[in-house]
Amino acid sequence: MAFPLLGRSSMRERNWSALVDALVFAAILAGIYAVLATVKYWMGVVTPAAHISRSPTALPVYAFYSLMRMGVAYVLSLAFAVAYGYIAANNRRVEMVMIAVLDILQSIPVLSFLPGVMLSMVALFPTRQLGVELGSIILIFTGQVWNMAFSFYSSLKSIPRELREAALINRFSAMQRFVELELPFGTIGLVWNSIVSVAGGWFFLMACEMFVLGNHDFRLPGLGSYLQTAASSGDTAGIVWGLAAMIAVIVLLDQLLWRPAIAWSEKFKMEQVESAAEVTSPILHLLRNSDVSRWIEKRAVAPLWERLTTSPPRVAPSKVARTSHRGRIVGAIALAALAVAVPYLLVKAALLLKGLHRAELVATLQAAGASFGRVAASLGIASLWAIPAGVAIGFNQRLAKVAQPLAQIAASVPATALFPVVLLGLVRLGGGLGVGSIVLMLLGTQWYILFNVIAGAMAIPTELREAAAVFRFTRWQRWRTLILPGIFPYLVTGLVTASGGAWNASIVAEYFHFQGKIMTTLGLGAQISSATDSGNSQLLLISTIVMAMLVVCVNRLVWRPLYHLAESRYRLDS
């Protein structure tokens, strides 16, 4: 009885794997074609202001172009993040400077990079599409790279001492140490930050694909420009089509890329025992069992791995202090270059700012105050609903099963894409952008708080909750002595991420092309956007400096002390 059944099931398994092989093969071919098509398009004659069709049939091609841009920008970000983090973590002399620079770069909004990046790229490739495309890619890159670099750096700094010593005593080469210790240790952080970064990339896609720079009009074919065109001409059907396409791409990416990546990265957890709840991904499972990917693994990955990790045979044990010599020379050259470049740029910036009117400065500070208020308000509103909801979900297994996937889908919808819809509603109700921008910030940031609170609530040990029940804590007492301290470290993480997101969102939220006109409100974001539009580099520079200073100050004065508090007093482990 069991025999034929067994036979059939193994047969089906076979067919499956053949199908998977065919799919993997097709995917590789499609990938090669995509690269060729992209290259052809990029190498073509430049059309900085392409005509954007509002027909839904144009969407697949637009989605493809946007995806290519995002993909290239992401690969660049990954490479940069790993290199930057590695250098900062392994060179004590430059570490402090590199981390401070990262802190500042992180606080500069994407749009502030726009003029410089765009003009230099166009100057570099004046006749090819490549110039404009690279400009857009680098803009997307500046929106996603910093937190990834920071994550990799802090992963490297937190490698347990004994693991480092194990590599040292066995005299791993720098490459072996990187491939077998440092990179694996940083992988989980990189994967999670990649997800956050790419989500941020979608957020800014509209700004990165279509913008005005002085009297230049840049329009690159893509989902972002499609949505923006549809929004500014008030084409509701177009908005819905564009939104649908974007959500489809995001959901596909989530299933085909991020979930397998998360499931794969479980392998790099630093846990002593196997955890019960592992993330699973059917796609990853199928990939692992396909012959094509096995072949690739065996023929390409394994030999490469072998090459990277195995040192050349040693005749005599090598002594140290040769590479550090070379490192010193490189360091000296870099230092000299910095010593020339930094004062030069400072003088240029100072000259530029000299022409600034007092009134403009006052206006900038007022705008900063307005944006600051909006960011604070959006964080407050988000916390008000997300903390109770997150705790309820985290404490209730059954609720969590239903609510978590729903929230994840809701979170993956980019706020900018929804914004036209929200704005339409607000305009009908008679509200302005002053309130509308808070709503947009909320759309983008509340999820960080919610997810972190859920994670925090789940991490509170059952014994503590039972103790609270046994001692008959009142509701207030339960919140004060158990729940709030328990979720505190997670809440701080969520708030930090959310506030970063809110500042970035202010750029898009406070200044909007809509139905043929520009909607704007008082705010630093609006000022940066309009300065970019009108090519006013003085105003752009001063607004950027004010925003960066504001963000860095808030980081130093508010978030960092809270982090310390969370790390020292409110830790539940150990």
Binding site: E165, M270, T309, S311
Partner: protein, 447 residues
């Protein structure tokens, strides 16, 4: 085997300190130590005596602040050419399989493909991990993980094998098992390693394994005793000589001021600077409440127990318990003999008394402690019954470091306050409180 042979590793006056010259924190005082071929050397000492620092300097992981480490007579920079370490936390790479973990050091030495796999499989087989090659560390039990740790250390055929408390993260039975397997490999000459250096806090483990035991003292770390154990292995834990050796090490560890009398044919102990200094009886830093607690525990155990077991049962670090034991012994509440603590009649009375009675009893007992007695007499002889703290500082500072003087006085005040003998005011001045009760009988009469 003989010390006349050339050492593999020779540390010459190595020191470890941190911080600038004016506020230097000395971890390890200048120390000489050698690792000879053919020996298992066990390094013991209380926490904070620099055991781990010593291991890291000898293996070349860390460089000494001053002095030098010689490998076959040559100074080393970076890790010693042919050593490995077995770590307390195993330090396996969780993303590599068992065999990949074991192959990693071979890769670093440039050994390719088939040869590497062959060696790794061979060593896995010899530590009993046959069949687990493709498992990930997280799928293994603690004991199995440490076997991987051993395999990874042994696969490069190290000349010296370092072990940093390798068994302390394992349960008792597993640790016992691994220890005897290690000895089997060593005594059966199944591993090419020429010397083993093990850091441990477990005295019995040291006596079970070692050919030579070095005990470190602390503040700063220095060698207190260094001797050989000539018993054949496997060693019987009930053997008289075994027990004597355990008790001897025990006594050295429990009495930080004792200049160890060489018991079992010791090698010349390398006297540490300052070791001879502390002749003045030191006050152990224990609180009266802690002493009472210990006595109550002893009563529960029919009045006596092995201190070592007591610490084990309480999951105490032994050097956390020792000051309490010493204090109780100083007060005449317990008798300590060869590692056993036995409660005295006086101790029993103290433990069973109520709080007021306890204070009275403690007052009498504390008179036996020289420092308490001296402070009390000095205060009583003054008309205003008070003295500046500097007076007592001067009394002590030729015997102890500044820091230790402060700790001594701190403890004396804690005891004096409990006994209601004397106290210290906010300016640091010592005084006898106004309502200090007269001798015990009168006080009882008044109330």
């Amino acid at each position: 085997m003989t010390p006349t042979e050339e050492p593999i590793i020779h540390a010459r006056a190595i020191e470890k300190f941190y911080g600038p010259a004016e506020a230097r924190i000395q971890v390890l005082a200048a120390t000489d130590l050698s690792v000879y071929p053919g020996e298992i050397l066990a390094l013991l000492g209380p926490s904070g005596s620099g055991k781990s620092t010593m291991l890291r300097m000898l293996s070349g992981l860390a460089s000494p602040s001053s002095g030098e480490v010689l490998w076959h007579g040559q100074p080393v920079v970076g890790p010693c050419p042919n050593v490995s370490i077995v770590f307390q936390s195993f330090a396996l790479f969780p993303w590599l399989t068992v065999i990949e973990n074991v192959e990693a050091p071979l890769k670093a030495r440039g050994i390719a493909g088939a040869e590497r796999t062959k060696r790794a499989l061979h060593i896995l087989d010899s530590v009993g991990l046959d069949g687990f090659e493709q498992a990930y560390p997280k799928e293994l039990s603690g004991g199995m993980k440490q076997r991987v740790g051993f395999a990874r250390a042994l696969v490069v055929e190290p000349e010296v094998l370092f072990m940093d408390e390798p068994f302390s993260a394992l349960d008792v039975l597993t640790a016992e098992n691994l220890r005897s397997e290690l000895l089997e490999l060593w005594d059966g000459r199944k591993m090419p390693t020429r010397a083993v250096f093990i850091v441990t806090h477990n005295i019995e483990e040291a006596v079970t394994l070692a050919d030579r035991v070095v005990v470190l003292g602390k503040n700063p770390g220095h060698v207190r005793t260094d001797f050989r154990i000539a018993m054949p292995r496997p060693r019987d834990h009930h053997d008289v000589h075994f027990l004597e050796t355990v008790d001897y090490i025990y006594r050295v560890l429990t009495q930080p001021d004792l200049v160890p009398t060489p018991l079992p044919e010791p090698e010349a102990a390398l006297a540490a600077p300052g070791a001879a200094r502390a002749k003045y009886p030191m006050m152990p830093h224990a609180r009266p409440g802690g002493i009472a607690g210990l006595l109550e525990l002893l009563i529960d155990r029919e009045g006596r127990d092995d201190i070592y077991h007591l610490a084990d049962d309480l999951a105490f670090e032994i050097d956390d318990l020792l000051p309490i034991v010493e204090a109780a012994s100083l007060l005449g509440y317990i008798h300590v003999k060869e590692g056993d603590a036995e409660i005295t009649g006086e101790g029993k009375r103290f433990a069973e008394a109520g709080i007021l009675r306890r204070k009275e009893l403690f007052r009498v007992a504390a008179e036996r402690v020289p420092l308490i007695r001296q402070i009390n007499r000095a205060l009583a002889s003054k008309a205003d019954h008070s003295m500046p703290a500097d007076f007592f500082h001067d009394l002590l500072d030729e015997h102890f470091s500044d820091e230790e003087v402060e700790r001594q006085l701190e403890t004396a005040v804690t005891w004096g306050r409990y006994a209601e003998l004397f106290d210290r005011d906010s300016s640091g001045r010592f005084f006898i409180p106004e309502e200090t009760p007269q001798p015990a009988g009168d006080a009882a009469g008044v109330r």
